[in-house]
């Protein structure tokens, strides 16, 4: 490795050194020519691929790649006793792990701030728009309910992890098969069938679309890991299959040139809806 680095003369103009030392100027020069550092236009999304059911130990699973960002999500179903005040409601437990394997910026150990924040946002997304009604997870009121653990693991962190995670979670839930469970009141046990399975009743299938504003001038859709630290404002819009907005998260100053806030919002909503339509074949037919 060391021999590679020393082969170039020390003062040679090298784009990758310029990129590391002056990332902002580097991106500015690209945008001045109408492109981004990875060759995309500002309104180009990266390619999405969804592969479901590849993990046999999970009740449902999905591998999602958004460009190089890779997220694997697995659904495990366990049986628990419901809470006393909610005898008919099961549990939905989503978590996103950003392990040290996915990026040099994460250290091994307990989940860091970013993973905790994103896990919480994921939980909010799933509960606030009622993706999986909790009363559909009831096996026997007051005695047994399903507890659905949705664990997403990021394998490669190349920006916009939340969009990829939301897609992986929805795809894994949509493709999950639970064994048919019956509660026996005499023995006080829940027995499952190996042969009969049911799928989860997903009410809505929200997908997230993220935008970043760079330099108060450019609206970048689907920011990459290089662009993310340079962005001063982000917006994530979740849109379901019928085109309704489920959730919106915006951070930082919303300003692009002399456009009004409303017109920027409008632009993002339209772009998000258009993208949601394009993603239809990946998500909406999953059973």
């Amino acid at each position: 490795m060391s021999s590679d680095a020393s082969s170039a003369p020390p003062n040679a103009p090298d784009a990758s050194i310029f990129q590391r030392l002056h990332p902002k100027a580097y991106l500015e020069r690209f945008l001045a020519a109408g492109f981004r550092a990875d060759g995309r236009r500002t309104d180009d999304w990266r390619e999405l691929s969804v592969n479901t059911g590849s993990i046999n130990t999970a009740e449902g699973s999905a591998l999602v790649r958004l460009g190089d960002t890779t997220v694997v999500c697995g659904v495990k179903a366990e049986i628990a006793e419901p809470e006393l005040d909610k005898p008919n409601e099961g549990f939905l437990v989503p978590n996103l792990d950003l392990p040290a394997i996915c990026s040099p910026k994460f250290k091994p150990g307990a989940p860091a701030e970013e993973a905790q924040v994103l896990s919480n946002r994921l939980y909010d997304l799933l509960t606030s728009c009622d993706v999986l009604p909790l009363d559909s997870l009831c096996i026997h009121p007051g005695k047994a309910v399903w507890s659905i653990y949705v664990d997403a693991v990021c394998i490669n962190y190349d920006g916009n992890v939340f969009d990829a995670t939301a897609a992986a979670v929805v795809a894994a839930l949509a493709s999950a098969r639970l064994p048919k469970a019956t509660y026996n009141e005499e023995t006080n046990r829940t027995i499952c069938s190996r042969t009969e399975t049911t799928s989860l009743e997903l009410k809505r299938r929200p997908l997230c679309m993220s935008f970043g504003i760079f330099d108060s001038l450019h609206l970048l859709v689907d920011p990459s890991s290089f662009e993310e630290p340079l962005i001063e404002s982000t917006m994530t819009i979740a849109v379901d299959e019928s085109g309704d907005v489920c959730s919106l998260q915006q951070e930082g100053m919303l300003r692009i040139g002399d456009k009004t806030t409303e017109s920027i919002m409008q632009e993002c909503f339209l772009a998000a809806k258009k993208r949601r339509k394009e993603l239809e074949p990946f998500i909406d037919n999953l059973r």
Partner: protein, 258 residues
């Protein structure tokens, strides 16, 4: 029982149990004697690809039927908060995804991850030329996405880790390959999956550098006679030579790491 609440993750109910299946209680005792699907000496086909984790200096993804493991190498990077050392430090961390086993693995609950990390570390250590990397650390991260047999998992993780190190351009004496074997009744079965390993009396995982003909680590657990143990080692070594071709092919096919 949970001793304290994990505030860094979203936690579900206090207690939950894996489903109990109706047929489980009556079935067993009808397992066929001979191995199903492959001969005792066959190992599962290996799919190995390097370079899938673009953020890392080197990476490898390995799949042997149901076992699926991703591995990334970061480094050599500066060793922080540590006294001067003229040799590099090799760190190995193994993580099981919560959905990777039959019952859900609650994060941070057991020490199995660390013991497997130790085995992979042992397998790699003699191969890596750490004396060329003073004051630096090499971090090898392994994520198990699906496990089918612990011994096979250790072997696959070692292969992936060595491929990822080579992909990262780390100098090594040779590629490390690894293979597992179990003794079922009086027969040696290579590369056992989970059910086969449960039937076996003892297992052996051997890691070696086929190019140099040296063994880097051997781990045996359970009951085996000395003769059986030696036979396992011999067969493992033969299979490791086969695996070496697979790893070498994957590395020559890959795009170079950046």
């Amino acid at each position: 029982m949970q001793s304290s609440i994990d505030r860094r993750r979203i936690t579900g109910p206090e207690e939950s149990f894996a489903p109990v299946f109706a047929q489980d209680e009556q079935n067993d005792e009808q397992q066929p004697k001979a191995r199903v699907g492959r001969t005792p000496r066959d190992i599962r086909p290996i799919f190995l690809q390097t370079g899938l984790i673009t953020q890392a200096n080197g990476s490898a993804y390995i799949e042997t039927e149901r076992t699926k493991i991703a591995c990334a190498v970061y480094g050599p990077r500066q060793l922080k908060n540590a006294p001067y050392s003229d040799k590099g430090k090799l760190n190995v961390e193994v993580k099981f995804a919560p959905f990777s086993c039959r019952t859900r693995r609650v994060p941070n609950r057991d020490a199995e991850d660390r013991s497997i990390a130790n085995l992979v570390h042992q397998a790699l250590l003699p191969a890596v030329r750490l004396e060329l990397l003073p004051k630096s650390s090499l971090d090898v991260f392994v994520t198990v996405l699906e496990a089918d047999g612990l011994a096979g998992c250790v072997a696959a993780a070692s292969i992936a880790a060595s491929a990822a190190l080579a992909h990262a351009g780390v100098e090594m004496f040779g590629l490390v390959t690894s293979c597992a074997a179990t003794v079922v009744e009086n027969e040696v079965w290579m590369d056992p999956d989970e059910t086969e390993q449960e039937r076996g009396r003892g297992t052996l995982v051997l890691a070696c550098m086929p190019a140099l003909g040296t063994v880097t680590s051997a781990w045996q657990a359970g009951q085996m006679s000395v003769a059986e143990s030696l036979q396992c080692m011999k067969e493992c070594q033969e299979r490791c030579t086969d695996v070496h071709f697979v790893v070498a092919k994957a590395l020559t096919d890959s795009r170079p790491a950046t």
